[in-house]
């Protein structure tokens, strides 16, 4: 039995490129990776939004209305439903004048128990140090 920890670090804003959504869909794929592994082996995914990437976490995104696309917000909520650890950099939120009331925090409508954690960058650094591999999007 072994565990490989992957850290997905999102540093680009949403919708300008495909990167943030691909980060989330790849992280969510950690829930179905077992088909490629031996019994008991797992891959975990932690997600961190930093820099301009924190803009992905704004709530009430209108992607369906404007683009007929699933929103990045809905992918964050799906990540919470799947109990993925989602961190958002507090300093970068401050830089944009955003507070916790502006961003996705939880997803009760999805049935998720997990909540997004707004943390200092130092805590995101700690998370990254704990990973086996980092993927920057």
């Amino acid at each position: 039995m072994a565990t490989t920890k992957l850290g997905f670090v999102v540093q680009r804003p949403g919708y300008k490129s495909e990167n943030p959504k691909l980060a989330l869909t790849h992280a969510i794929a950690s829930q179905s990776v077992e088909i490629y592994l031996k019994d008991g082996d797992i891959v975990t995914a932690d997600i961190a939004f930093i820099g301009d990437g924190v803009l992905n976490c704004l709530k009430d995104q209108k992607a369906v209305e404007n683009y007929d696309l699933n929103s990045t917000e809905s992918h964050i909520k799906m990540s919470l439903l799947l109990d993925l650890n989602v961190l958002i950099c507090r300093e970068d939120l401050d830089r944009f004048g955003l507070t916790e009331s502006d961003i996705v925090i939880d997803a009760p409508e999805f049935g998720a128990d997990m909540e997004v954690k707004v943390v200092p960058y130092a805590e995101i650094t700690k998370m990254m140090e704990d990973q086996d591999h980092l993927l920057f999007f």
């Binding site: 072994a2 490989t4 992957l6 490129s17 495909e18 990167n19 691909l22 869909t25 790849h26 969510i28 794929a29 950690s30 179905s32 990776v33 088909i35 490629y36 592994l37 082996d41 891959v43 995914a45 086996d132 591999h133 980092l134 993927l135 920057f136 999007f137």
Partner: protein, 119 residues
């Protein structure tokens, strides 16, 4: 010898990131390492066969075929490819198509993971 997993999300035409990924794969294999190359997003463009080679655009079909013959494992994100109209019947022989969990499965036992994001 080790295992290197490379994920490349950048387009074949419009950047030289895939060129770099293929050259790095060749260098690693030359040293005896096993290499998995995952392409996702615009990177799936590399999986299409019969692309015409111009000197002004990257063209990797020939080196990719040579490396796959030597054991390079290339897999394209099926959803990313299909969304771009890159269908299975037009996929370069030897390139596999799976869902995103394949990349994470490859990362599981990789000694090093090099992730090259998209544009």
């Amino acid at each position: 010898m080790g295992k290197l997993t490379i994920g490349c999300f950048a387009s074949l035409v419009g950047s030289t990131n895939l060129d770099f990924a293929v050259k790095l794969s060749a260098a690693a294999m030359e040293k005896g390492h096993k290499v998995d190359l995952w392409v996702s997003g615009n990177g799936t463009m590399i999986s299409i066969k019969d692309q015409r080679a111009f000197k002004d655009y990257s063209s990797l079909e020939k080196p990719l075929k040579e490396l796959m013959a030597k054991g390079l494992n290339v897999t394209a994100c099926e959803a990313c490819a299909e969304s771009r109209g890159y269908h299975a019947d037009h996929t370069l022989e030897g390139v596999k198509r799976f869902s995103m969990d394949w990349y994470l499965g490859s990362a599981f036992d990789a000694d090093r993971l090099l992730h090259i994001g998209g544009e």
